[in-house]
């Protein structure tokens, strides 16, 4: 265990993790010492929760590929559970919701076994065809379309989408580079989360024009553009984690920044539709797990296929 941790911090991903921990230590210092009285409790909670998130991510995803499969499966499960708790359900939907949970096991098994064919069609094809059939067997016709669609949508976002992180984890090193799946996952997750933080910071500093006022009143054009430019630069700076050329890294940065924003506001749409502010309560200052993985539901599959197309 100790040895695995020291190895982790001595390779390329270790440098990035140390930078991130350094930034977080600095942020903690700012909110709890320098601006202690001026900072709202919510912001403090949010900063403190980042320690837990990063700690869980390092232990869960960075040390061992098998553990990482279970870790990402757990994230999918928690996100899906939060989603199913939020949406309206009929008593007869319990059966297909149970199937939806069960599908997580298979999806992550396919990812872990690097069975690409099944991994990529299990939810969009097989579950998509199976769930309506199960509804037919139950026989409740009222609300069939709404409920089946809701469940399938949740599966696509929180199981299919997020499981791309797990599959990416198993990708081997690219010929001629010493970086593989683990570094790519780190690159994606760090940039996605930094994009959220940068949007928030740029928005706080310069934000004037609301970008999607009806969906998410806190998001501004300035926040988006600021994060877009900064993140593209960071994507190039961190490209030693990837096999990318500078141009590819720039494109990846723009992709992650744009897609991360869309993922974020799409989950806001869901919350607006249902009429809640936070999706849950798991992480103080952040809301629930959906509020944290929202951007990843978009960036994970898109970045995965971007990389997969270029190098695998």
């Amino acid at each position: 265990m100790i040895e695995t941790i020291t190895t982790l911090f001595s390779d390329k991903s270790g440098i990035v993790l140390l930078i991130i921990l350094g930034i977080l230590a600095f942020a903690t210092l700012v909110v709890s010492v320098i601006f202690r009285t001026k900072t709202s409790q919510e912001l403090k909670d949010r900063v403190y929760s980042w320690w837990i998130i990063i700690g869980a991510f390092i232990l869960g995803a960075m040390l061992n590929t098998t553990v990482a499969m279970f870790f990402f499966a757990l994230i999918s499960y928690l996100a899906l559970k939060e989603y199913f708790t939020l949406i309206p359900t009929r008593r007869t939907d319990r059966r297909i919701i149970f199937y939806a949970y069960l599908s997580i096991v298979f999806q992550y098994w396919f990812a872990g076994a690097q069975w690409y064919g099944m991994f990529i069609i299990w939810i969009p094809v097989y579950l998509f065809l199976l769930l309506p059939f199960r509804q037919v067997l139950i026989g409740e016709t009222q609300g069939f379309l709404e409920n089946t669609s809701r469940v399938q949508w949740g599966l696509m976002m929180f199981v299919f989408g997020l499981s791309h992180l797990a599959y990416m984890m198993t990708l081997p090193a690219v010929a001629g580079h010493d970086v593989g799946g683990k570094e790519l996952v780190l690159y994606l997750v760090v940039l996605t989360e930094l994009n959220d933080v940068l949007q928030y910071l740029w928005g706080k500093a310069l934000g004037k024009h609301k970008i999607v006022p009806k969906v998410s009143p806190n998001k501004t054009v300035e926040g988006f553009v600021g994060a877009f430019i900064t993140l593209s630069a960071l994507a190039v700076a961190f490209s030693f984690l990837t096999p990318f050329t500078t141009l590819q890294a720039l494109a990846a940065g723009m992709l992650i920044s744009g897609a991360g924003f869309v993922g974020d506001v799409v989950i806001s749409m869901v919350k607006r539709d249902i009429g809640v502010k936070d999706s849950g309560h798991l992480l103080p200052g952040h809301g629930g797990i959906l509020d944290r993985v929202d951007s990843l539901t978009y960036t994970a599959p898109l970045f995965f296929h971007f990389t997969y197309y270029l190098y695998y």
């Binding site: 559970k81 199913f84 708790t85 319990r94 919701i97 949970y101």
Partner: protein
């Protein structure tokens, strides 16, 4: 001992990790003083969720009051109910007897145990509340120094509704309200107040 193991190894991991509980108002629940916990009832899980609110070392002091006709039906169920859950059986039928039907509950409270009561009397339809019966108020009159803690439970009826055997995980909402004392209030008014508090918490929940 059986009860402790059952809660430590099965109930708490399932309730707290697999389902997840969102508790609000935890400060209203005292772990040291005995109290009468009152909640709406939709699922067998309700009792287990309420008992998981307490630390494990207190678990032997938490006694749910449960219908004798159901939980003492045969020897196997009775063994499970008393050994694993530690229920206080209560007859739902009106019987002519020389002791007060709530006497065993009063004794448990006086001995320092906390008890759990579902004043709806039955689980009923999922996520719907039926009218409260006045048993709690009568009990509160018998032990006026012990407070009544009204708790709203939401979602357990989705995880395991009446008449289903398949558990489907959802996050369970627990809303603990301020403790209430009966004082000079009459039992009818107290029952209505109790029902109102729990109903309100449920409306605030969404």
């Amino acid at each position: 001992m059986l009860k402790w193991l059952f809660f430590a190894l099965i109930v708490r991991p399932t309730v707290l990790l697999i389902f997840g509980v969102h508790v609000r108002g935890r400060e209203h629940l005292s772990h040291d003083k005995p109290c009468i916990i009152v909640a709406n009832h939709n699922s067998h899980l309700d009792t287990l969720v309420l008992m998981s609110l307490f630390p494990l070392r207190k678990i032997h002091r938490i006694r749910p009051v449960a219908a004798a006709d159901y939980f003492m039906k045969n020897r196997l169920i009775a063994w499970f109910s008393t050994q694993f859950i530690g229920i206080i059986p209560l007859s739902r039928k009106v019987e002519k007897s020389h002791t007060h039907p709530l006497e065993s509950v009063r004794q448990a409270l006086e001995a320092g145990d906390s008890i759990i009561l579902f004043p709806e009397g039955s689980r009923g339809e999922a996520e719907q509340m039926s009218k409260f019966k006045s048993g709690v108020a009568h009990l509160a009159k018998m032990v006026p120094h012990i407070s009544v803690v009204p708790i709203y439970l939401g979602g357990a009826g989705k995880v395991l509704p009446k008449g289903e055997a398949l558990l489907v995980p959802f996050i369970i909402d627990v809303y603990i309200n301020e403790p209430m004392m009966i004082g000079e209030e009459d039992t009818q008014a107290f029952t209505e107040r109790l029902e109102e508090v729990i109903k309100k918490a449920g409306e605030r929940d969404v």
